[in-house]
């Protein structure tokens, strides 16, 4: 032991010297000798330097700033042409310390132009033909091609004027627009301008956009009906930030949005029989709702279950025919980073108040809007799931600060989030008998998607991370929390973040680190949703523990509420608030493509030598006896061949009665003088070890996957008892590839399992067992357990089977 300690002491010294001389090179630091990797190297040289805007502790700095952009919009929806026309007055408040001579606006609808970078850079996602066989093009692809050829999409910017009506000059660059200011906008000043614009909405069925229209050609109404889910529908400001300046990156479709907070007043003019749902609060209920609807809304505030504002019957009646006149719905929303709305004469509308006693916003109206195609799946669950999500997320972050929380059913998309408004896809299936049913999987999907999208109200709609740059900051964090909320909804439903589910992705060869710009991420679902969600789950359950994690996470949420955090702020605050060094964790999980695979290679058992010959020699005799006999002698014996000694037992001497383990006084005397030579503390240590007679085991581990993680052991003893031993990840700090650990235990060990609960995403389970165990593959288990099992029976159908009585059985016989 002493010798070992000395060597590692030297190693540390050498390492310190080496790094000490290289610190000034920051990211250029390289280990250029040997194979040592500092998996615990602090992240500060990778993270941006803290400054007055963002502190080293991960909080907004004392001069933190962000811009404010207020919008006043008049918009008209033409149902027959599915065209949006709007006039927006934008007030831009420059809170930055910089002077701006131009502003950038986002023209997201331009992504749907046939000549957009998004379209031109999209690849042909189908196989090249084999030689001699025709190329294949799916009907879906054909429809999309034809649609893009026929349709006229993208913004028509009619004018941009200052408040006196003078035209301002601007330049469109793809999905961006640079607006040149008449005079530079200094720090603290604001500027107001008016944009007149229009665009044709896209068909959601064809392009699968984040917003668009859905057409119901088979409805009773002549010409069918439309459902509009309207988003990215007005030219809006690009964010100007302290860490990137203008975040003017072309919208390619994958990386989402980087936006500023501001106040919105929006007047939406639609056919007068439409119901409109929107971000914020309705301002003119008296003009657009009936007396009865207003009464129902009030009733809903304190109801136990959602109350229909528009009943299914009323909606069905409403969608049978159209109107020629229009109505204008007025909404206001304060301190939001975006605004979305939906409109249709098909909407059923239900609502229920969510109460937050003592919060700045005590009453939040949870509401759902859906056509009859949503059916009871929606009326039973949507609004309730919204409220459940608010309850869980608020517990982990802060009270919900907005007055409404809404879920709107648009069939062409999975789910999409906006402040106070989500669009969700699940639908029921129409049966031949006219009823609408849904499968268990669809039900789980509705619950899951509503939780997920409503969760986005917090991340990134309030904790306003930069989606275009870092998808994981909203999707990863939100996927982690949606599984928390999901498991609190129904523990029976399988949710996505079990550590073992991510293993296949993490061992795969073609992947990129989580810390990759959104549009460059390969396999976005695994990279930006599942892997970071799993990482956070492991951080909470295995590395930090719930108490420390929850405190730090809440601190992150509260500090960055209504502000714009970056990844480094998250990494820093999680450490600062918990007191746990996590650089190794974030480095491994977010900055590399390593995976977890810890192997228990060898186990040695050892016993303390007492130095007392009367004890040690007889022990050695036992060990010698236990050794297998020589095969040669064994075979001689089996042949019945007796040795000379066997045949001549009358001839014996001293050595026949005293083996090599016989103790003499010579050894006893030397033992006694050994004891006399010991210092008092040495004597005490030896006496104690001898009297305790413990078992000593050396465990040899190797880190096959590269990612350092705690080593969690389940040790099973000969007496049948089990013990869990958790060794912190720091065990790898001086030798990241191999470590040894000495276990001193009372009982004899018969079995050791690494990561017995599978909580670390360890890829290879077989090398987690000592002694080794052959782990059957899925197919082997499937074959041995028989097919199917209890899961996956059609109990809804089978439950209709009649129970056979004894009489029936007699008849059968």
């Amino acid at each position: 032991m002493k010798k070992l300690a000395l060597i590692s002491g030297l190693a540390t010294l050498a390492a310190t010297l080496f790094f000490g001389s290289s610190v000034s090179f920051a990211q250029g630091i390289q280990q250029t000798k040997g194979s040592f990797e500092d998996k615990f190297r602090q992240l500060d040289e990778v993270l941006p330097t803290p400054n007055v805007y963002r502190t080293a502790s991960g909080q907004p700095g004392h001069q933190y700033w962000q811009q404010e952009v207020d919008y006043n919009i008049d918009v008209t929806l033409d149902e027959n042409t599915q065209r949006i026309s709007g006039t927006e007055t934008i007030t831009y408040q420059n809170n930055s310390p910089d002077t701006l001579s131009y502003l950038w606006l986002q023209l997201d609808q331009n992504r749907f132009r046939a000549d957009s970078m998004g379209q031109m850079s999209s690849t042909f996602n189908s196989a090249s033909p084999e030689p001699g066989s025709p190329a294949r093009l799916s009907l879906n692809q054909l429809r999309r091609l034809q649609y893009m050829e026929d349709a006229d999409h993208g913004y028509e910017i009619r004018s941009i004027r200052d408040v006196r009506g003078n035209d301002l000059s601007y330049t469109v660059v793809g999905t961006l627009l640079r607006l040149d200011l008449e005079r530079p906008l200094r720090s603290g000043q604001d500027v107001e301008f008016v944009v007149d614009y229009a665009f044709n909405m896209v068909d959601g069925e064809v392009l699968s956009p984040r917003g668009g229209y859905e057409y119901f050609p088979d409805d009773e109404k002549e010409g069918g009906n439309y459902l509009f889910a309207v988003s990215q529908w007005f030219p809006r400001l690009v964010a100007y930030t302290d860490y990137e300046g203008w975040t003017n990156r072309e919208f390619l479709g994958s990386g989402e949005f980087t936006l500023e907070f501001g106040d919105y007043e929006v007047a939406i003019t639609v056919p007068s029989d439409h119901i409109v749902a929107a971000t914020g609060e309705l301002q003119n209920a008296n003009q657009v709702l009936s007396r009865e609807q207003r009464d129902r809304l009030q009733e809903a505030e304190t109801a136990d279950r959602p109350v229909f504002i528009v009943t299914p019957e009323e909606a069905l009646e409403n969608e049978r025919e159209g109107v020629d006149d229009t109505k204008t719905w007025r909404f206001a929303a304060e301190n939001v980073r975006d605004f979305a709305w939906g409109s249709s004469r098909k909407f059923i509308w239900d609502a229920k108040g969510h109460h937050q006693p003592g919060a700045e916003r005590e009453l939040v109206m949870a509401m759902s809007f859906y056509p009859r195609e949503g059916g009871t799946l929606w009326s039973d669950y949507s609004t309730e799931v919204v409220i459940h999500t608010l309850e869980v997320y608020s517990r982990f972050s802060f009270d919900f600060p907005y007055p409404t929380a809404q879920s709107l059913n648009a069939g062409f998309l999975g789910g999409m989030e906006y402040p106070m408004m989500t669009f969700n896809g699940p639908r029921t299936t129409l049966q031949d008998d006219g009823t609408r049913t849904y499968s268990l999987s669809e039900k789980r999907f509705l619950i899951g998607v509503v939780i997920h999208e409503v969760g986005h109200f917090y991340f990134p709609m309030i904790v306003n991370s930069d989606e275009r740059q870092w998808t994981w900051m909203d999707e990863g964090i939100n996927s982690y929390l949606d599984s928390v909320a999901g498991r609190e909804w129904d523990a029976e439903i399988p949710w996505g973040v079990e550590p073992k589910f991510i293993v296949d992705y993490m061992v795969s060869q073609n992947q990129v680190p989580i810390m990759t710009q959104s549009d460059s991420v390969l396999r976005l679902g695994s990279n930006a949703y599942a892997k970071p969600a799993t990482a956070l789950n492991i951080l909470r359950e295995t590395i930090m523990g719930r108490e420390l994690f929850d405190f730090a996470f809440k601190e992150y949420s509260k500090q960055w509420k209504f502000k714009r955090p970056t990844p480094s702020d998250f990494f820093r605050i999680m450490e600062e608030a918990s007191g746990v060094d996590l650089d190794w964790f974030f480095r491994g999980w977010f900055y590399t493509t390593d995976h977890v695979d810890i192997s228990l290679d060898r186990v040695y058992q050892m016993q303390i030598d007492t130095e007392n010959p009367d004890i040690d020699y007889s022990r050695q005799r036992e060990i010698d006896k236990a050794l297998p006999p020589s095969l040669y002698i064994e075979r001689n014996r089996n042949e019945g061949r007796l040795t000379w000694v066997d045949r001549n037992t009358d001839v014996r001497d001293f050595y026949d009665d005293n083996d090599q383990f016989t103790v003499t006084n010579k050894e006893r005397n030397s033992y006694n003088s050994f004891l006399e030579g010991l210092e008092d503390w040495e004597r005490a240590a030896l006496d104690r070890a001898v009297s305790e007679d413990l078992n000593y085991y050396i465990l040899e581990f190797s880190n096959v996957g590269g990612l350092v993680m705690p080593i969690i052991l389940e040790v099973e003893y000969a007496n049948g008892s089990k013990e869990e031993i958790r060794l912190p990840a720091e065990i790898w700090r001086r030798s990241p590839h191999q470590v040894k650990k000495l276990l001193v235990v009372e009982n004899e060990i018969i079995n050791i399992i690494v990561d017995p609960q599978q909580e670390t995403s360890d890829a290879d389970i077989e090398n987690n067992y000592y002694p080794r165990r052959i782990i059957p593959s899925r197919i082997e288990s499937f074959k041995s357990e028989g097919r199917g099992g209890l899961l996956g029976r059609d109990i809804m159908q089978d439950i209709k089977t009649e129970l056979k009585t004894e009489d029936d059985e007699d008849e059968d016989n």
């Binding site: 499968s439 268990l440 669809e442």
Partner: protein
């Protein structure tokens, strides 16, 4: 957003990723093929292929239909040192639900001289062009990965 992708499809809310493990299992002497789909993805795909109303969690018939579809979109050819290619005769073992996943199993005997594999994995990729299939091949402790994304239909891996 819940994984939304810029490609044509009537259902845009699938995760649209599947994982296939191809395991050279020394314990059984078999090449074992284990396809993992999210049940919800698979159910919507089954609806597109076999008509609405497929219930993968509830109906063994729906699952069997989906399983037969998958094995018809998947193949492995082995290539020996003389560049001779032999299509593996993959036996269909079955399919099962495990939590949020639907698994489909196939296997074939390992034989000598497998220098390379040519894998075709079009499962769901003919339903949604943006479906991404990851294939991990595990042999002698090594992992080789194939990504069926974009225009790739048939991919070769040297073992």
């Amino acid at each position: 957003m819940l994984l939304l992708v810029s490609a044509p499809s009537s259902f845009a809310h699938e995760q649209k990723t599947a994982v296939t493990r191809i395991l050279f299992n020394p314990n059984t002497g078999n090449i074992e093929v284990m396809h993992r789909f999210l049940v919800h993805d698979a159910e919507h795909a089954a609806g597109v292929i076999f008509g609405a109303g497929q219930k993968l969690l509830e109906s063994a018939d729906s699952r069997a239909l989906f399983g037969s579809y998958v094995v018809n979109r998947f193949s492995i050819a082995t290539i020996d040192e003389n560049q001779k290619s032999t299509e593996l005769d993959l036996a269909y073992i079955g399919e099962e639900i495990d939590g949020q996943f639907l698994w489909v199993y196939q296997e074939a005997k390992i034989f000598d001289g497998m220098q390379a594999l040519r894998v075709v994995n079009m499962a769901l990729r003919d339903v949604w062009p943006d479906q991404a299939n990851l294939v991990n091949i595990e042999k002698d402790g090594q992992i080789y990965s194939l990504s069926f994304i974009g225009s790739s239909e048939s991919l070769l891996i040297e073992l």
